[in-house]
Symmetry: D2
Subunit: 138 residues, 4 copies
């Protein structure tokens, strides 16, 4: 898992968009990865809450990296599709997205993701996602 | 439509996250709204392409505003859920998201969204979304 | 819950399609309903396994009835949308679909559903669904 | 296309579930397949309309076969996932599901499907689906 953790941390640090969001890679376990984000004006929608796109972005990344923990070290991952249900307005200070592998496969890995209010643990959104393993080119 | 256009432009300008993305509100027609975004490091994933979360964020906003054009002036809109299929890597300079109303209802409005390479017109992603009309509070 | 159980059992018995599938209403708890189905040629696809449409149909019904357990007695329920990931071929004798309420609301209720091989408990499919409460007419 | 049409017609005729529904394979074109179904008690829900599961089942099959028209003759196809938005109650005599390929790939093919009232052409439901190409065994 050490090499995979390093691979994920390096990949995360190369994502300009995660920097833009101020997102933090929290935990990496086999089949489960979590990412958090703090509220600021730059991630808000018109009412000052987290924009749904922010929840989706960190949850998609958490699911993708969770899938990556179950793949060979040389694999890379792409999102094929995902769906998210937004259960409540995200009017909180910090959100935590946890991506979990439901079924790991050679080509496709199916994940589910939950986004919670980090303080209260209240469920804000639920995602299911299909990830595809690809060979890294370079 | 003038009052609705103004309402949408005002709402868009209040979304800190759209500013963060450098997203531009392009067109507003009854039942169809488009939003564009230019590539820069702050919206990229680890390979330098647009992050899927960026496509999703502007496409969700385009769908939400498209729904708003079919609702009474005093209504506001929230995303209930959406699903997106990512068809190709977004290695282009500009993306254009077009949200279109499939079925307008009193409570729920169903939209579809397409994200394209703005130059070539190539389809990058396809979304379907459920929007709910809510009464603005204040 | 007794009146709600009766309402659900009556509604289930009126669904010609559930009869066609030979589906059985298994359990009704507040926020959770399960439905099973046995394999026969009439529910099979070209390889003799359960057709994906059968999994979806009983899982959608299980989610809808789960939503109904959290609504007022006079309410009825309609599926707004659902998404399902099919994780494995359903080459088993019996399937069990369990629908669970993730978030109950006045208008919308969000559910998740799991379809399992009834014998082994292996997860075959995962659904998320949006249900809307409507007033019964007659 | 003749060999592919034959392959699809043979596969369709082996689906016990399509027989159960009384579904008819209507048209096969490259990238587009349509399937219809007539209302009868055996495909109805509690109000006598088409059960959502019936729409989904024929639309999933239409999408799968549409994908198959773009694949090598020896390939078979499985549904990875699909999502459907149900736009209106299906209180009509006949429904027509049309599956169309959005993006054909070597491994994955993304389709969209529409279910309409066959007489009025009114849109009843919209699906997006991910199909995977597999090698036939036997």
């Amino acid at each position: 898992m050490d090499a995979i953790c390093n691979k994920i941390r390096t990949s995360f640090s190369k994502q300009g968009f995660m920097k833009t969001l101020g997102a933090q890679l929290e935990n990496i376990d086999r089949g489960e990865v979590s990412i958090s984000c703090s509220l600021n004006e730059g991630v808000s929608q018109q009412n000052g809450f987290f924009h749904a796109g922010v929840l989706v972005s960190i949850c998609d990344s958490a699911c993708g990296y969770a899938a990556l923990t179950t793949m060979p070290l040389e694999a890379d991952v792409l999102s094929v599709e995902f769906k998210i249900n937004l259960l409540r307005p995200s009017n909180c200070d910090q959100i935590l997205a946890v991506g979990t592998v439901l079924k790991a496969g050679k080509t496709l890995t199916i994940c589910e993701g939950e986004v919670k209010d980090k303080d209260s643990g209240k469920l804000l959104a639920k995602m299911t996602a299909t990830m595809i393993s690809i060979q890294k080119n370079g």
